[in-house]
Symmetry: C2
Subunit: 417 residues, 2 copies
C-alpha cells in the first residue's frame, strides 16, 4: 500500500454494466419502469439528446416491443392534441412465472407489459420432494395456468421460477431448498429440458423484491429492503434500482444470520439463526410444549399455529409468550437490516403476516429501540401481504428480464460510438 | 398491485448516476483506477469509440489532470517505440486527509495521483472533546503535516476527514461520535470555516473501504467488505465498484447490529450490540473483574488490555475466556456479513488486529461454521493491518473525489449527444 502502488499497472476494474448497457436497452427499461413516458422525459432521464432517444424508440417500435399511446394530460378536460407517450407493447411476448413453496405452487401468465392474463395454484404435501416430483408438479401447473389464460405452452417465450432456499440465479442451481430432498440441483436446466421453455430461477424473496422493483415501490425508490416471512425468513434488497444478490448470488440470507450464539436449532442444521426463532416450525415446536400435546398425535403446522394463535388471543400466557418472543426476534432482525442497510423503506411480505403479533405495535416499537440512535427518523415499514400471486408475478418479471436481454442485450450503444 | 398499475404513469425513477456521468469524468476515473492505461484499453473498458476517448483524453491533458507516460512493455527488452499510457498528473492538485480517533489524530498530504508527500500524527486524551478543541487539534495537525510536506495550507485544494461514529457524508454532519461531546455537529462546515479549505467528512470505516477501492483490493474486485476493529467495530462496503452508504448515509453499522437480545451494554446506550462484546472497552470492563483490580486504581484501557493479553498468553484461563468470547462474537458478526452480503472478500483492518485472538484459527473456523452451508467456498478473509496512515489516505481519497467532481462533474457527455 502506498506511493509505489500508484506507479504499477494494476488489474483493470471491470467496466460497470451500467455504462456498457446499450442505449436502446436503457430506453426500453426506462419505458418499462415508467409505465407510460413521453420521449422528451426519456431523453431527460437518460441524459442523452432527444435525437438519440428518437432513434432508439423508432427501432423499438419497429421491433414491436414498445408502442405509442395517447396519454391523458392530467388536469386537462380533453381539449387539444393528446400527449403521446410510450409504453411497452403487451402483445409482444407472453411468459409464465411460478412460485414453488412448501404447501402449494402458484403460477401466473403475464403479457410483455406485465399484465396478468391468468393465475392458478396446485397444493402439495409439505416436505422435500424428488426432482422428478417437482418437475411433474411444475409441468402440471404450467398446463393448468396456460389453459386458464387461453394460451398454448408454445406461445410462452420464457418461464421464471422462485424457489425458497439457497439459489444461484446465474447458474440456475438450487444449492439447498426445503422443497427438494437433494442438494445442488441444476433446476433451471432440468425444467428447460422438461418444458422446452427458456427458464430462469431465483431465490423466492429476491423475486418479491423484483416484483416491487418492477411494479411497486421501485417506481419511486432507489434503495429498499423486502423481508418475507413464510415457512422461513427471506430478504431481497434493491440498491440503486437494481436487485443486489451478492458476489456468488447467495447473499441476503437474513433468516440465517445468527442472533444468538449456540442458540436454537435451525432447519439448515446450524444454531441461532433468526429463522429458528421466527419461522412457523420454530413456533410449532414450542406450541407442542405450550399446548401440552401428545408427541404421537401432533396436528399439521398450520393447524397447530391457528390453535396456538387462538389460545394467545384468549389470554393463554404461555401461548402469548411464544408469539411475543418471535416478535422480539423479528424486531431484532429488522433493526439489524436498518443498522446495516439504512434503507429508504422496509416492505414486509409473506403469508405469515396475517399473525398480527409480527407487526404488533410493540414489535415495531421494540425494533425502533434496537435501531441506532442517529437522531434521524427511522425508515417506514409497510406491510404488503399480497399473497403468492405477487411472488409468481416477480418470477414472471425474471422471465421478462431474460426475454428482454436476449432481444436487446449484447448490442453496442450506437449513439455513443 | 396488479394489471391496473401498469396503465398508470407512476413516479419516474431517478436516472442512475452511472448513465448520467459525463464521459470525460468516466475516462478520468478509469485512468485513476488503473494507475496507467493505454487509450485503446480505455475505449474497450468504457464501451465507447476510440475517437470519443481521444477527445476526452485531449481535454483532460489540456486541463492538466492527466498526462502521457511511456509505459514499459512487459517482456520486452527496451527495443522499439515504448507504449504510451495515460496516468493522473500528480502535480495537478494537492490535498490533505485526516483520521480523527480516540487516542490520536493522523494526517497525510497527497498529490493528485494519490502519492503520499508526508504523514504525521498528534496524540490526544481519550474521551469526547468540544467542537472547539477538535477544530484546534485539526488545525494544529494540518499545519504540522503541511510543514513536513513542504507545502503551504493555501497550496491544498481540499481536506478530507474520517470520524468514528454516525456521520452523514452528504450533509457534512456528525450525528454522534465518541470523539465529540455534542450530537449533530455540522463538522465539515466548521472545519471549512476554520481552515478555509473545502472539507468533506465521512465515517472512518467508509474511508478505509474507499482507500481499498482506490488503491487496494478495489482494483480487481467489484464487491468487497471492510470490517474495522478499533475503539469500536466499523464496516464499509463496496458494491459494483462504489461505496454503499445507505439511503440516509448511515448504514453499515455492523458494530451496532444486535447479537443478543437484552445483551451487554454498548457505549451507544443500547444493549446487545456486537461492539459491546468485541470492542476494547468491552474487554476492559471484564478485565477489571478477571484481574481482580481495585476500582479506584484502574489503568488506561490500552495498558489494561496489554496486561490481560499477557496473562492470557501465560495461561490464565479467565483472561483467555475473555478473548475467546470476543473472538466468538467477532466470528458471529463476520458470518452475518457473509450471510447478508456474500462478498467476494472480507478485509479486516484496524489497530486491534494486533491481538491475534481476533483472527486466530479457531475464530475463523467458528466463523465458517456460522456461514450458511451452500456448498460453495466461503469468501477469503485478509488482514490489512496497515495502521492509521491508510485511514488518512482514504480521507485524502475523499478529498480528491471532491476536487475531481468540482472540476469535471456536472458536464454532459458530449460523445453521447
Amino acid at each position: 500500500m502506498g506511493a509505489e502502488d500508484r506507479q504499477g499497472c494494476g488489474p483493470l476494474i471491470a467496466p460497470s454494466s451500467e455504462s456498457m448497457r446499450p442505449l436502446r436497452q436503457q430506453v426500453f427499461e426506462r419505458v418499462r419502469a415508467s409505465g407510460l413516458i413521453p420521449r422528451v422525459q426519456l431523453a431527460k432521464d437518460l441524459g442523452v439528446s432527444p435525437a438519440s432517444v428518437t432513434t432508439s424508440t423508432s427501432e423499438l417500435i419497429e421491433m414491436g416491443y414498445i408502442e405509442e399511446v395517447a396519454a391523458p394530460r392530467p388536469g386537462e378536460s380533453g381539449r387539444g392534441r393528446p400527449a403521446v407517450a410510450l409504453g411497452v407493447r403487451g402483445a409482444a411476448h407472453c411468459v409464465a412465472g411460478m412460485k414453488l413453496s412448501d404447501r402449494e405452487h402458484t403460477a401466473v401468465v403475464v403479457d410483455f407489459a406485465g399484465n396478468m392474463l391468468a393465475g392458478d395454484a396446485v397444493a402439495r404435501d409439505p416436505g422435500p420432494s424428488t426432482v422428478e416430483e417437482l418437475l411433474a408438479a411444475v409441468e402440471l401447473l404450467l398446463d393448468k395456468v396456460c389453459a386458464k389464460a387461453g394460451v398454448a405452452r408454445s406461445d410462452l417465450s420464457a418461464l421464471g421460477i422462485g424457489v425458497p432456499g439457497f439459489v444461484d440465479h446465474a447458474e440456475g442451481m438450487v444449492h439447498w431448498s426445503s422443497t427438494l430432498a437433494a442438494r445442488s440441483v441444476p433446476l433451471a436446466q432440468a425444467v428447460e429440458g422438461r418444458t422446452g421453455l427458456p427458464t430462469a430461477i431465483d431465490n423466492d424473496a429476491n423475486l418479491v423484491a423484483l416484483a416491487e422493483l418492477w411494479f411497486g415501490a421501485g417506481r419511486s425508490l432507489a434503495d429498499f429492503a423486502v423481508v418475507t416471512i413464510e415457512h422461513g425468513v427471506g430478504m431481497g434488497f434493491v440498491m440503486n434500482h437494481k436487485l443486489y444478490r451478492g458476489a456468488q448470488r447467495l447473499g441476503l440470507e437474513l433468516g440465517h444470520t445468527k442472533v444468538q450464539l449456540d442458540g436454537a436449532l435451525c432447519r439448515c442444521g446450524q444454531r441461532g439463526c433468526l429463522e429458528a426463532y421466527v419461522a412457523d416450525y420454530a413456533l410449532a415446536r414450542e406450541a407442542v410444549t405450550a399446548l401440552n400435546l401428545n408427541h404421537r398425535n401432533i396436528p399439521s403446522v398450520p393447524v397447530l399455529l391457528e390453535s396456538l394463535f387462538a389460545q394467545a388471543r384468549e389470554g393463554n400466557g404461555t401461548a402469548r409468550s411464544i408469539f411475543k418472543r418471535a416478535g422480539r426476534y423479528l424486531a431484532l432482525g429488522l433493526a439489524n437490516v436498518v443498522n446495516i442497510f439504512d434503507p429508504a423503506l422496509i416492505i414486509l411480505s409473506g403469508e405469515r403476516m396475517k399473525y398480527d403479533y409480527l407487526y404488533a405495535a410493540e414489535t415495531l416499537a421494540e425494533m425502533q429501540d434496537l435501531v441506532i440512535n442517529s437522531g434521524r427518523p427511522r425508515p417506514p415499514i409497510e406491510i404488503h401481504a399480497w399473497g403468492d400471486l405477487l411472488w409468481a408475478h416477480g418470477a414472471a418479471a425474471l422471465a421478462l428480464q431474460g426475454v428482454t436481454e436476449r432481444a436487446l442485450g449484447g448490442l453496442r450503444d450506437i449513439a455513443a460510438q
